[in-house]
């Protein structure tokens, strides 16, 4: 065995070293999030998808028309996490929730924070709270809180 100083070494970064485009529909959605606005896409039948969908999953219609929705909405379902795991973004008890934003016909998966489990039910009204820094990502919405 040679000394460790004789070994050849190369850096290894476990990561995807490429950038990904989010495409014509989702780009608009994320750019708007960066300006603290939530958009949805509207089908010719008038159904509004938010987060913005590129296609209507029922009719396969490509969706292009963007409309603003939220920032308030209604909890359609939620799961309550009393003990967050290390990878969760909120370190206190919180909920993952499906939230139907005002003006939308579909729900957005996001988190509801700063409340107790007993405060939350299907039908609760919540509103978006924004992150301190906008990065044009879904996490630009920090979480939702119960509307007072």
């Amino acid at each position: 065995m040679s000394d460790s100083k004789d070994l050849l070494r190369a850096p290894f970064e476990l990561a995807y070293n490429y950038k990904r485009s989010s495409g014509p529909v989702m780009s608009k959605f994320f750019e708007a999030l960066g300006q603290q606005k939530i958009l949805g896409t509207k089908s010719t039948a008038g159904k509004v998808f938010s987060p913005a969908a590129e296609f209507d999953p029922e009719t396969n219609e490509p969706l292009k028309e963007m409309v603003e929705v939220g920032p308030g909405g209604v909890v359609e379902s939620f799961s309550w996490i009393e003990n967050p795991q290390h990878h969760h973004l909120i370190k206190e008890p919180f909920a993952f929730a499906l939230i139907k934003l005002d003006g939308a016909d579909t729900s957005m998966l996001h988190m509801v924070g700063q409340c107790k489990e007993a405060d939350l039910s299907i039908g609760s009204r919540v509103k978006a709270n924004w992150s301190e820094i906008q990065e044009q990502r879904i996490t630009d919405i920090k979480f939702f809180t119960i509307e007072k």
Partner: protein, 351 residues
């Protein structure tokens, strides 16, 4: 349609932690057990297809390592699905239908113990809208559980009964990981993981593997006197946009049932890939299985090898038909959050 039959199935004992056993060492024994049972070798196999998840091993193309379990020299015809091995079986079916193969070996393997399954499954979701929020698999399932409970489609009592029954049924399954019985107070005193789901509503972290051989009608009788026919197979997927789905129903499963014309078939056994306790009563009612013995093996709640448990549902249905002189069995495999993607397999014993 060519008739295709399952001629053999083998399953590794499901382990809590396979330790130093690597994926190859998990697959080898089940493949060789199958070959020995049927008195055949890899030379008798035209097509080999596996199902596994590279995310679990943490390396791109990690499934190629799994192939080392099979003698690949001289080169063999093979394929892989980054899915449950039930879909490897589907691909093998197509291969036989196309006339490219008469026989196929299918295997699946998963070793969930080394990593953090909740975090890993988060990474497999939609990378734009969902993964960045790091939803764990239990919390996603719990969203559907709450919808079903809220709309009285299922009851908390049915979830409790499902957990108790799974434990009791584990006695029928020599490979089950969880075999200890529980009672109502054990269940009610169990801490919530992600409400409304507690630890006992969720499947155990499991390591293991399974293998199956299917063959065309011509070849099936060369391998066994008792082939079990794949009378129908259908799979459909719903939107990856979780919030645009109706979690209280499944139009896609309904479409599969219609496609397979299941309405008038009297099933004697069914094995469903229901990983969480609320999914079993939901699917029983969707699939009209109220009076049918379901998950006599205990199902995923007593052992849930990722990328394998769907194939196991098919394998356990096959075994039940073979061992009990039943005629019709229904197997179900699923993939994705909240029963997003479902496969139904109608198996029939020779009359």
């Amino acid at each position: 349609m060519k008739r295709v039959a399952i001629v053999g199935y083998a399953q590794h004992p499901i382990l809590k932690n396979a330790g130093a056993l690597n994926e190859v060492e998990l697959i080898m024994p089940v493949v060789h057990q199958l070959f020995n049972d049927l008195g055949i070798s890899q030379k008798d196999i035209d097509f080999t297809c596996s199902g596994s998840c590279d995310y679990l091993q943490g390396a791109a193309f990690a499934f190629v390592e799994g192939l080392s379990a099979i003698q690949t020299n001289p080169p063999i015809k093979e394929s892989h699905v980054e899915m449950d091995a039930a879909w490897a079986m589907y691909e093998s079916m197509l291969k036989i239908q196309m006339g490219d193969a008469e026989t196929a070996l299918i295997y699946g393997f998963g070793k969930s113990s080394p990593g953090d399954l909740d975090a890993i499954i988060s990474l497999q979701m939609d990378p734009y809208y969902i993964s960045p929020l790091w939803p764990d698999r239990v919390s996603l399932a719990a969203l559907q559980a709450r919808v079903l409970l809220d709309q009285n489609i299922i009851t908390p009592e049915q979830m409790l009964a499902t957990v108790i029954e799974a434990r009791a049924n584990s006695k029928n399954n020599k490979n089950a990981l969880i075999t200890d019985l529980i009672n109502e107070s054990d269940y009610l005193n169990n801490a919530m993981v992600s409400s409304p789901l507690n630890q006992l509503d969720c499947p155990p972290i499991s390591d293991g593997s399974s293998a199956m051989i299917i063959a065309s009608e011509e070849k099936a009788y060369e391998f066994t006197d008792h082939p079990i026919w794949i009378e129908g197979i259908d799979h459909r997927i719903e939107s990856s946009n979780l919030g645009s789905r109706n979690l209280a129903a499944s139009n896609t499963l309904q479409a599969s049932m219609n496609q397979l014309n299941l309405k008038n078939i009297k099933f004697e056994v069914a094995e469903l890939h229901t990983q969480f306790s609320h999914e079993l009563p939901f699917l029983k009612s969707l699939l009209n299985l109220q009076d049918v013995p379901v998950n006599l093996s205990g199902g995923p709640l007593v052992g849930n090898v990722m990328m394998c448990a769907g194939l196991d549902a098919i394998g356990k249905t096959y075994e039940a038909l073979k061992e009990n002189q039943f005629t019709h069995g229904l197997a179900h495999a699923t993939s994705g959050p909240c029963l997003q993607h479902n496969m139904l397999v109608h198996l029939e014993a020779q009359k």
